[in-house]
Symmetry: C4
Subunit: 125 residues, 4 copies
């Protein structure tokens, strides 16, 4: 259940951390189907070409919280402190939520959004 295409415009890995918590982002994926979901991430930047086709598997009937710092391809990863966006495609329908924990200052801050889905047969896009 869910959708095959999801978008997250506000990506940002906070470069600093304070205290015991580590600043990070997670792309949280729920795959309620009985099959593995093969996810393909595209990372869009402000000033250079995208990193395309970063692959991640989410097993059937499982949750997976993917740290964006682990998304890498041929040694190229998302640098901290840089604004970016993410597109996620999946071969089976899934549900995708994005959360950030920012521990830059002495206190913890959180944000979270459901990613934006594009639905099949929706105006042919």
């Amino acid at each position: 259940m869910g959708e095959r295409h999801w978008f997250i415009p506000d990506g940002y890995i906070p470069p600093d951390s304070t205290g015991d918590l580590v600043s990070h982002e997670s792309v949280c994926v729920l795959n309620t189907s009985s099959e593995d979901a093969l996810l393909s991430f595209t990372v869009y930047f402000e000033d250079r070409e995208p990193i395309e086709n970063v692959l991640v598997v989410v097993p059937g009937r499982r949750s997976r919280h993917i740290r964006t710092s682990t998304l890498a391809k041929e040694g190229e990863a998302i640098p901290p402190g840089v604004p970016y966006s993410l597109a996620v495609s999946s071969d089976v329908p899934v549900v995708v939520q994005y959360s950030r924990q920012d521990a830059t200052q002495a206190a913890n801050a959180l944000l979270s959004v459901m990613a934006y889905p594009i639905k099949p047969h929706q105006n042919g896009r």
Copy 2:
């Protein structure tokens, strides 16, 4: 008014609290109908089989803010400090929002998302 199927990919009960506030998550449900809503929760994990069919009632014309730490079946509950996801089904249409209060550090942090709805007759899913 609302939907019968809702999904929350980013579930996490913070294991620690500081100060007077207690870290917790709430699944907040609005049932505007005049009938009771019978909700069935499924809890999905990263590395083991889901906990299925945890039942909760939300009376008609009432709000209910359900702490995720109270969702349990046959003595099995959601452990703190573990990434998970939730699926919620209801026999009458409801609206579902998910919020987390994280008081791990000396200051309070909050996140909230509307859960993701799957609508009836939507591509047969």
Copy 3:
């Protein structure tokens, strides 16, 4: 532009404040039409009958950020420290976002969600 029916399941006015900021919630409404929008709020509780038909006007081509503590009818208002939900109806289409500022502890915390819309002609609901 927008919708006529919006829902906010997670309502809560934090009873305490620390520092110079005051804990509060806002229902933020954008009316892009040229006519006034007449909004009707229903407040749903966990353990008693709803407060119905609290009226607020948002002028045409204007933004209005409505503090939930100002929603009252016949002397009955939303008490602080109590979980509740909101339904908002408008006679012209509007867009509704809900935000909370929680200054209970020494630091500020924020959450925000777009309210959940029910669209006309959507499965007859």
Copy 4:
């Protein structure tokens, strides 16, 4: 991929900052198409006429995180400390998320929402 019309009811530039972080808001835009997207912003206020047609370009296959403090037209910008709303139109479909970092007090606070999209052919609106 995405939509051409997006709405953000809860706009507010926090007037104060504490520590090394600066309070600000960002409208984060993902343009997955190969063409430039020309965005037109309208800023709605509570007590005066909107600022209309503020133009911003987001290149093809790029992310752009736009600080709301940079949105200006004929010397007129969004004042800090004032509640407002935003409407964003684009000539090619994009995805829009809104985030605020509030460093008013000694600790950082974050909120984020996906903007609300109006879809083409949706009830003629």
